[in-house]
């Protein structure tokens, strides 16, 4: 047993258990201590992960579990997301009752996501998926004082169960024809036996199942309601962590395990991406609640990121990874700014951001930068990320798709700009300044710095993601 391969997972689980125990020990009102401890612990784990050699592929449990450069990259993304979300939650005013278990639950989503990206067979993949989903359901419903939060939890678990059903159906068909659940065997089977219609059916089911996780249209119905109802830090985590995990599995399945089948279902992915970009962006326009607006915007971004899969090349994959990274920091920055405002006003409506430039110049600057990044306007990172994705799509001959993508991102700019306008031009209803707590300020500053660095000097991060991509697709 090579326990080195699952060192990160072991550490993370231990941290979660410690936090759970700590909840009992810590006095009421001091629960945030657990948050600081959790953030420090996760940071240490991130450091271990970054320190270990990327190109060293190891397996565990007789090949059920694989730790390669690709998995390492995504684990680092999950960890970064979890750290920022944890710190953000410390500054979140609601949830005083349940903060103790909150932090340990955030940590417990991580082994689930990590198992998803590292899974080397369908059973492990499914276990990881459910571990992540169920923890997220609890986190979504954790704000017991809010009806919306409970409603969101119920919606999320019902729809997740349905998508899991679809996914399991697809997996069982694959098992039925290939006689194995291990990815390596499935790959060999497809190579020798070719792609039969039954296999295609199964792949379509699997894509649909993960389409739910990445909230691609038409499997996106759950996300606006869940995003709106969930506590804001969890919304941020759903948007960045759960989505990144979904993409990581889609990438591994389509590019590594079943590349032969991809050719026949490419058209489905293209249709999914186009619909996602169109519907996500168009329905974001009329939203008056900022969390719903960001939910639709995150749906639309799933469409852009899918372009990387459609390109089906190493640089397409690198572009996706780059985009997921910048998307993480832009979203975290935006949600942190939303928390800073809602802590004070108690409202998620976009109109409550009126005159924010006067009440909190810092939060409005961060929200501006984050929205610019999501909109793809320099100097924020989104511009470079979109450029990589669109360039790769055009290089692979999807000119019309690039037109559609760029066209829809103009639509996107419209609704981002409406927020920017309210924030920078509108008059403040109250003149009291909004005081932002130190943890929130820290999260905002970090995400702004990363967004700017990736936008102004993207070379090093690009090299990193492209290198990870080329280690994955040799």
């Amino acid at each position: 047993m090579n326990f080195n391969a699952i060192l990160i997972e072991i550490f993370t689980t231990i941290l979660g258990v410690i936090l759970l125990v700590l909840e009992l020990v810590l006095p009421k009102g001091r629960k945030n201590t657990a948050g600081y401890l959790s953030a420090a612990g996760l940071l240490a784990i991130l450091a271990v992960s970054l320190g270990s050699a990327a190109d060293n592929t190891q397996t565990f449990f007789a090949g059920l579990y694989v730790t390669d450069a690709f998995a390492g990259f995504f684990k680092q993304v999950f960890l970064m997301g979890a750290i920022l979300v944890t710190i953000m939650s410390i500054g979140y005013n609601r949830l005083q009752e349940s903060k103790g278990e909150f932090f340990s639950l955030v940590v417990f989503t991580l082994p689930g996501m990590m198992a998803m990206v590292s899974a080397n067979d369908f059973i492990t993949l499914y276990v990881g998926l459910e571990l992540m989903t169920i923890t997220f359901v609890v986190l979504t419903a954790i704000d017991t004082a809010s009806v919306k939060s409970s409603e969101a939890g119920i919606k999320y678990i019902l729809l997740s169960a349905m998508s899991s059903g679809v996914l399991l159906y697809g997996m069982s068909v694959i098992y039925g024809v290939s006689g194995s659940v291990a990815f390596a065997d499935v790959f060999k089977y497809l190579q020798t036996a070719g792609v039969s219609p039954v296999v295609l059916l199964a792949v379509v089911f699997i894509v649909a199942g993960f389409g739910f996780k990445i909230s691609a249209v038409p499997f996106h119905m759950w996300s606006p309601d869940v995003y709106e109802g969930a506590p804001t830090p969890i919304t941020a985590f759903l948007a960045v962590g759960s989505k990144a995990a979904g993409f990581s599995v889609l990438i591994r399945l389509l590019l590594q395990v079943m590349p032969q089948a991809y050719g026949s279902i490419a058209v489905i992915v293209v249709v999914l991406a186009s619909l996602t970009m169109l519907v996500g962006n168009l329905t974001a326009i009329p939203q008056s609640n900022i969390k719903r607006m960001l939910a639709y915007s995150s749906i639309a971004h799933a469409g852009y990121i899918l372009l990387g899969i459609i390109a089906f090349t190493r640089s397409g994959l690198g572009a996706m990874m780059f985009y997921l990274l910048l998307y993480l920091f832009a979203n975290i920055g935006a949600f942190a700014a939303v928390i800073a405002v809602t802590n004070h006003t108690g409202s998620d409506e976009i109109s409550s951001f009126s005159g924010l430039w006067k009440r909190s110049p810092f939060a409005s600057a961060i929200l501006l930068l984050s929205l610019l990044s999501l909109a793809g306007i320099p100097p924020a990172a989104g511009f470079v990320g979109k450029f990589y994705l669109f360039a790769e799509a055009i290089r692979q001959g999807y000119l019309w798709l690039a037109f559609l993508a760029i066209g829809t991102s103009i639509i996107a700019i419209y609704y981002y700009i409406m927020v920017i306008r309210v924030m920078l031009v509108g008059e403040a209803k109250e003149t009291t300044s909004i005081i932002t707590s130190v943890p929130l300020k820290l999260v905002m500053a970090v995400s702004a710095v990363v967004t700017l660095v990736m936008g102004i000097y993207p070379g090093p991060v690009t090299d990193w993601t492209m290198q990870m991509a080329s280690l994955f697709l040799k």
Binding site: Y388, I394, I410, L424, G459, D463
Partner: protein, 502 residues
């Protein structure tokens, strides 16, 4: 790169000023204005140095700077100016300097105003200096949102509508241009057809012989994408509202330099990269340009608001630039480049004066005025200078530029050129009518409390008026500079014809 990074300094001065502003408290208005003035002076002084040190005998980029940026994708921070871009860099720094002083009495959210304005200017400098197509586009995009905020916060009349319309038009345009740019990049990276390497270097990309179908396709994208900025009729609709609603300094920047970004990019990227594509689409451009010049001049004639007159006259004048570009010969393109400079200065002067009148009188309706020369003699004489420049009076640089455009275009499109020349007559009608109705006639007692421009307000007016006349009397100071670089582009069209394609 060796030597003094003068271009980076010119470009980074406004950016450094903007960042410095963030650390000055809102209440220290004097310090904020002083900062803006100092950094705009730095840009202006360095641009004059640049102008003096420019070697006219060379056709290539000069003062080049190179920093490798994203080597994997062939993106480099490459700056440089040639005879085409140097006058525009010079123009930008003049407008920047003037715009700062025009905004001297800005009372509302002063710090943010100068912050966003300086970001816009840095972006404009970047476009004119970039030798790398990626950076050219990046700088173009950088300025969009700040301009939206500037119009929306500090604008007048229907600013909400105007700023959103403006932003969506420009972003849609740049989206189309972006597809074209990526297509060129992908074409160049193709080992069979292009160079086989990832590069955004403008000089290398211009050296490729693109196949004819691709040229037609890509040039069309560039035409739409950059044409929105110029603007070409019928995608000019953002301009009258945008220019009229913007605060004075921003109107000056919009009409003075932002429109030139489009013309510059059309020459630098459009006709320089795709001579065959340009030749294919030239008749269309020439027809639209004639509509621009003549029809919009008629539109300008019926406006009731002075600022709308000036805004429409800008579109009409850019029609000359377009017909100069479409004629595809050395004389006409040189004229187009000159006209961009001449119009930039003239439009900025117009907007500065109109803004000054509006700030004091709180109205821009032409019928409200009359005999204003009694109360504001300096404004009246400066307005007359701008007006005469606008109708291409000999002695102003506009004359030299328009003359060069029409000598060139009459060879390529005789009928359209003659039609466009009639736009000059229409221009004369509306300009002189405005001058007459506002400034001449009996004294109107209602405006007796208006003060003529004085003190700091004089700085931009004198500077801009001086530039119009200086280059009007000695046009070779500027034209002699552009000739060399443009002859390289014009040579491509001579070769094209010699090749017997047409």
């Amino acid at each position: 790169m060796t030597g003094f990074p003068i271009l980076s300094l010119i470009m980074l001065a406004p950016l450094a000023g903007a960042i410095l502003l963030l650390f000055i408290p809102d209440t220290k208005v004097r310090a904020i204005k002083a900062t803006a003035a100092i950094f705009s002076s730095i840009s202006l002084l360095l641009s004059i140095l640049l102008y003096i040190n420019f070697d006219r005998s060379l056709n290539d980029f000069q003062f080049t700077e190179h920093i490798s940026w994203i080597p994997r994708f062939g993106i480099n921070y490459d700056l440089g100016v040639d005879g085409l871009s140097l006058p525009l860099v010079f123009l930008t720094s003049i407008i920047f300097f003037s715009a700062v002083f025009v905004s001297w009495n800005m009372g509302q959210r002063t710090k943010e105003f100068f912050f966003y304005m300086m970001v816009v200017i840095a972006g404009v400098f970047g476009v004119f200096m970039a030798r790398d197509l990626f950076f050219l586009f990046l700088f173009l995009e950088l300025a969009v949102i700040p301009k939206f905020i500037l119009i929306n916060v500090w604008g007048s009349k229907n600013k909400d509508y105007a700023s959103m319309k403006y932003t969506l038009y420009l972003l849609a345009g740049s989206a189309v241009a972006l597809i074209g740019i990526i297509a060129v990049y992908v074409y160049a990276a193709d080992p069979a057809k292009g160079l086989g390497v990832n590069t955004f270097d403008i000089a290398s990309l211009a050296g490729i012989k693109y196949d004819a179908a691709f040229q037609k396709f890509a040039f069309f994208l560039m035409l739409i994408g950059f044409g929105v900025l110029v603007p070409i009729w019928p995608i000019h609709r953002w301009t009258p509202d945008g220019h009229s609603s913007a605060p004075t300094a921003i109107s000056m920047i919009l009409a003075g330099v932002i429109m030139k970004l489009g013309g510059y990019a059309l020459i630098r990227v459009g006709i320089n990269f795709f001579p065959q594509g340009a030749a294919f689409w030239a008749p269309l451009i020439a027809i639209l340009a004639t509509v621009n010049a003549v029809y919009i001049a008629v539109v300008a004639m019926v406006q009731k608001d002075i600022k709308y007159v000036v805004a429409n006259s800008s579109i009409s004048h850019m029609g000359y630039v377009l017909i100069g570009i479409a004629s595809l010969n050395a004389s006409s393109i040189t004229g187009a480049a000159g006209q961009m400079f001449a119009h930039g200065i003239m439009a900025a002067l117009f907007f500065a004066l109109v803004g000054n009148i509006y700030d004091k009188a709180h109205t821009r309706e032409i019928v409200d005025f009359g005999g204003l020369a009694h109360q504001m003699p300096r404004v009246a004489s400066a307005f007359l200078i701008a007006g005469l420049a606008s109708l291409g009076m000999p002695g102003t640089f506009n004359f030299a530029a328009e003359f060069s455009i029409f000598t060139g275009s009459i060879q390529a499109f005789p009928v359209l050129a003659v039609l466009s020349i009639f736009a000059v007559v229409i221009t004369a009608i509306y300009v002189l009518r405005v001058v007459q109705q506002i400034f001449f006639g009996p004294r109107n007692a209602r405006w007796d409390n208006l003060q003529d421009i004085k003190g700091v307000e004089m700085i931009p007016v004198i500077l801009l008026g001086f530039v119009i006349i200086l280059f009007g009397v000695l046009p070779d100071l500027l034209v002699g500079m552009t000739n060399g670089s443009i002859s390289v582009i014009a040579q491509k069209f001579i070769n094209l014809k010699a090749g017997g394609i047409f």
